[in-house]
Amino acid sequence: MVAPLSRSGDSKEEHSAQFKLDEDGTLSGSVRMTWTGHLAVKRRAALFRKSAAEREEYIKDEMKDQFGSPEINDIKWDGIDDSERPVSVSFAMKATGYVQKTGKRIFVQPAVFQRAFAARFPNSTRVYPVYFQYAWSEVDDISIEVPAGYEFDHPDIPPSIKAGDTVDWKVTARIEGKTKLVYERRFSFGDDGNLVLPVTAYANVKKVFDAIHEGDDHTFALKQAVAQ
């Protein structure tokens, strides 16, 4: 008998955030992150022995890796000590220097929670199969209010990526009222139960994850609006 595999929707990582971007490149707003299934177990295992102060440090350290030295306040954890519930954390964040700037443009990466991630498979060759322990999915719902006096410059989104029923990545974005970017990112892996990928498939695995990396790195350009 083979034990059943969980589906990607059973182990979900969700990021929900409402940000405001200042002209100087500071991104501030409220964040909620939620983990279910195997992802929740992993977080719970890392956190359940930690004190309240250590749990605060844990999320601060994690954000530090991505945002330098953001201010993180009002941290509230939930579900760590209750295995029946998702693990979640909410907090207020203020990160300076979030954008890339030129003389007249600001470039902002809307995949805020994938920022500064290194390529998952940096090497061109591999000796052993790639083994993902379980199927999982990621859901990002981000809104970013852009600074007054700026408008989007040639906005577009990266193309969707689908590899059979193994990988599905897509983003949608819309601009509300000219000043608010609403960005939705959806990713799932392993719904076909294909979790062990042989070395012969490595080149394709790398190609797919490189493409996702590129898509996550995609930026939107903001240009100073011309006075009417």
Partner: protein
């Protein structure tokens, strides 16, 4: 390299909460958890008192709090030293349970642990004494093939829930050859009471030096002096900070027998010259070249035309000899005396002092004078001039009389001995003419009899430790890129890459280059990776080709955006925290990128990154870009000066790091014609 540890350092390395031997102790935890827990017995009054101390608010990050750290040392007329230690720690969280352990080091030939008892007081207040089955006597060896060092150990890690108190009391006895002792007032954990007492025989005197803290005056009671500090803070590691051992409060003691009284103790050291004289006696007789060594020297230097070529040939030979450490007779000074050069040459292995001593003998056979140098390998800030002792060092290198006219970053101008070329024959990757980074700028003792003494080792200049990268690339209209990378490294940056290449092998090194490139260029593939290692030129070079289909981002087919630096930014200055409690050590270094990018047909430059120029006391940064005739040129240079930046200057250092980081991210914007 650790075989040169003094007796005190040996003891220190396993005392109380030092986690250096954590692997051994972790194993002990596994073994000991299978043993019956404890015998019912009331905890002693001193432990109960420590456990009931009212504590000030401690750093919430501290996993445990030391309630009492006490050492009572009695030096007997005979020179025997009897030490009674008491230690109590309160476990704050589960991670802090690892502090509930004791390890008392002793030297098999000159010391013993007379007694070691330990207790746990549960959060409920119930106390129990750990039974004798919980204690083990183990050999302690870190780098050495064999050592005479042993430890009596006990762990209560599995017995301690948050809120529990662990305590132990030990009595150890030793017959040291030294008339010096030192004491660490704290480990990384906060310490409520830390107390050291020294009782000397009548008529003896002691001199104390406090390090990393304002001087602590002893309280005298009869023949006993007691030094005490309270409420010492928690030490949390910070990037680029000195080693913790160089920051914690230490007490260093030298004591002197009355008049001409004979003891089993060794000499007293009032000056560094005294230490030099004592060590010279141990070293000098061991460095005589025999016929075999002389013949080998003749053979190795046959093709050498200049004195520096001769030195290099001999240095290369000894550097390649296998490092093997066998430590015996440590309690009688064995850790300080090299084996005879003839023996080390015949066996072709040895530890650091053996290798330094063999090279000294070979140089002697070539008519070149040299002297051993005792140094602390680890943190250049550790050795303090105010405490003359052989016990502050753990490593041995060599000072070679430099040939006339020879200059370089590894040359020290000694007032008594002349220009000395400092060389570490144990470091397999640092060539003659360079000093390993962790030894630069450190106090070290030149062992040259009365002419010896403490000297500050030279430190490298920024230009001598450089990473120069040249990138030639071409971006296509579809945003793809192809190009070449040439890296040229010198100084300790070359040493790091050389070590990585030799230790990991070519295939693994290639992967590391690949990862480095991929971190800067999305979806990059690299090929044709070549390395050229020329240690005698102090250089390590890497060449590679790269391609990437998704390098530049194209927006609606009209805008093209990419970072002109192509590769990832310079090794980041890791100063992201808003505040800091410890100094930051900056090592002199230069990075320089020169990038030429052939721009895609059909696009023209709309925006270039602003030029940046920053000058600070810690270093400088400059970046500029230009475009002409379809060719983008981008250069950036970061220079760091060798400095120790005090914590109260951190805001300025962080502002510098932020400016560099911000400038590194600025993109080029092209627009379709």
């Amino acid at each position: 390299m650790k075989e040169f540890l003094s007796n005190t350092d040996r003891r220190k390395s396993l005392s109380h909460l030092s986690f250096q031997r954590s692997a051994v102790l972790a194993l002990l935890s596994l073994i000991l958890c299978c043993v019956p827990a404890a015998a019912a017995e009331e905890a002693p009054a001193w432990l109960r008192a420590a456990a009931s101390e009212k504590l000030p608010a401690a750093d919430p990050k501290a996993p445990a709090i030391v309630l009492l750290r006490e050492s009572n040392v009695v030096v007997e007329d005979s020179g025997h030293i009897v030490t009674t230690d008491r230690f109590a720690v309160k476990v704050v969280n589960r991670a802090g349970a690892s502090a509930a352990r004791a390890a008392k080091i002793y030297l098999r030939d000159t010391g013993k642990v007379r007694d070691l008892k330990a207790w746990v007081i549960a959060p409920s207040g119930d106390a129990r004494r750990l039974t004798k089955e919980r204690f083990l006597d183990v050999a302690v060896g870190e780098d050495a093939l064999y050592e005479d060092i042993r430890a009596r150990v006990v762990s209560a890690e599995r017995d301690c829930d948050p809120g529990a108190v662990f305590g132990y009391e030990s009595v150890t006895e030793e017959k040291s050859i030294f008339t010096q002792l030192d004491w660490d007032f704290s480990d990384r954990l906060p310490a409520h009471i830390s107390r050291y007492s020294l009782t000397l025989p009548a008529g003896w005197s002691a001199k104390a030096v406090t390090m990393n803290h304002a001087p602590v005056s002893p309280v005298e009671s009869g023949a006993t002096q007691t030094w005490e500090l309270r409420d010492l803070p928690y030490f949390e590691g910070e990037p680029f900070s000195p080693a913790f051992e160089s920051l914690r409060p230490r007490l260093a003691l030298s004591f002197f027998p009355a008049g001409s009284q004979k003891t089993v103790l060794g000499p007293s050291f009032a000056r560094w010259e005294d230490v030099s004289l004592w060590l010279s006696e141990l070293h000098d007789g061991q460095s005589l070249p025999d016929d075999a060594i002389t013949a080998k020297v003749r053979s190795l230097t046959a093709g050498a035309n200049t004195p520096i070529d001769k030195i290099r040939a001999l240095a290369d030979y000894v550097q390649a000899i296998r490092y093997v450490s066998i430590q015996t007779g440590i309690g009688r000074g064995g850790g300080y005396k090299p084996h005879a050069a003839s023996l080390v040459f015949a066996k072709s292995y040895g530890d650091c002092k053996d290798k330094a001593n063999l090279l000294r003998a070979m140089l002697k056979a070539a008519g070149i004078e040299s002297w051993p140098v005792s140094i602390f390998s680890g943190d250049p800030l550790f050795v303090r001039a105010e405490w003359p002792t052989p016990q502050q060092v753990n490593h041995c290198i060599l000072a070679i009389l430099a040939p006339a006219g020879y200059t370089g970053d590894a040359v020290l101008d000694d007032p008594k001995l002349g220009k000395l070329l400092i060389f570490d024959p144990t470091d397999a990757y640092t060539p003659l003419g360079e000093i390993p980074l962790h030894e630069q700028n450190s106090f070290a003792l030149i062992i040259a009899g009365e002419r010896g003494g403490l000297e500050k080792m030279p430190s490298g200049k920024a230009g001598a430790n450089s990473t120069m990268r040249n990138i030639e690339a071409s971006v296509a209209p579809n945003g793809s890129v192809k190009g070449t990378l040439h890296e040229d490294l010198t100084g300790w940056t070359a040493v790091i890459q050389r070590a990585s290449f030799r230790e990991r092998g070519e295939a693994e090194y290639r992967k590391r280059v690949e990862t480095r490139v991929t971190n800067g260029i999305r979806s990059a593939a690299i090929g044709n990776v070549k390395t050229i290692d020329t240690p005698h030129e102090d250089r390590f070079q890497v060449d590679a080709e790269f391609t990437s289909a998704g390098f530049a981002q194209i927006m609606q087919g009209r805008l093209m955006v990419f970072r002109p630096s192509i590769l990832q930014s310079f090794d980041p200055l890791p100063f992201t925290d808003t505040k800091r409690t410890q100094p930051a050590i900056l090592n002199a270094r230069t990075w320089q990128d020169t990038v030429h990018v052939k721009l895609p047909e059909g696009f023209e430059v709309d925006e270039l990154p602003d030029a940046a120029k920053v000058e600070t006391a810690y270093g400088s940064y400059e970046a500029k870009s230009s475009a002409e005739a379809g060719l983008l040129t981008f250069t950036r240079t970061l220079v760091l000066k060798s400095s120790v930046v005090p914590a109260d200057e951190y805001a300025k250092l962080k502002a510098f790091a932020d400016r560099v980081s911000g400038s590194d991210q600025a993109p080029v914007v092209l627009v379709k014609k």
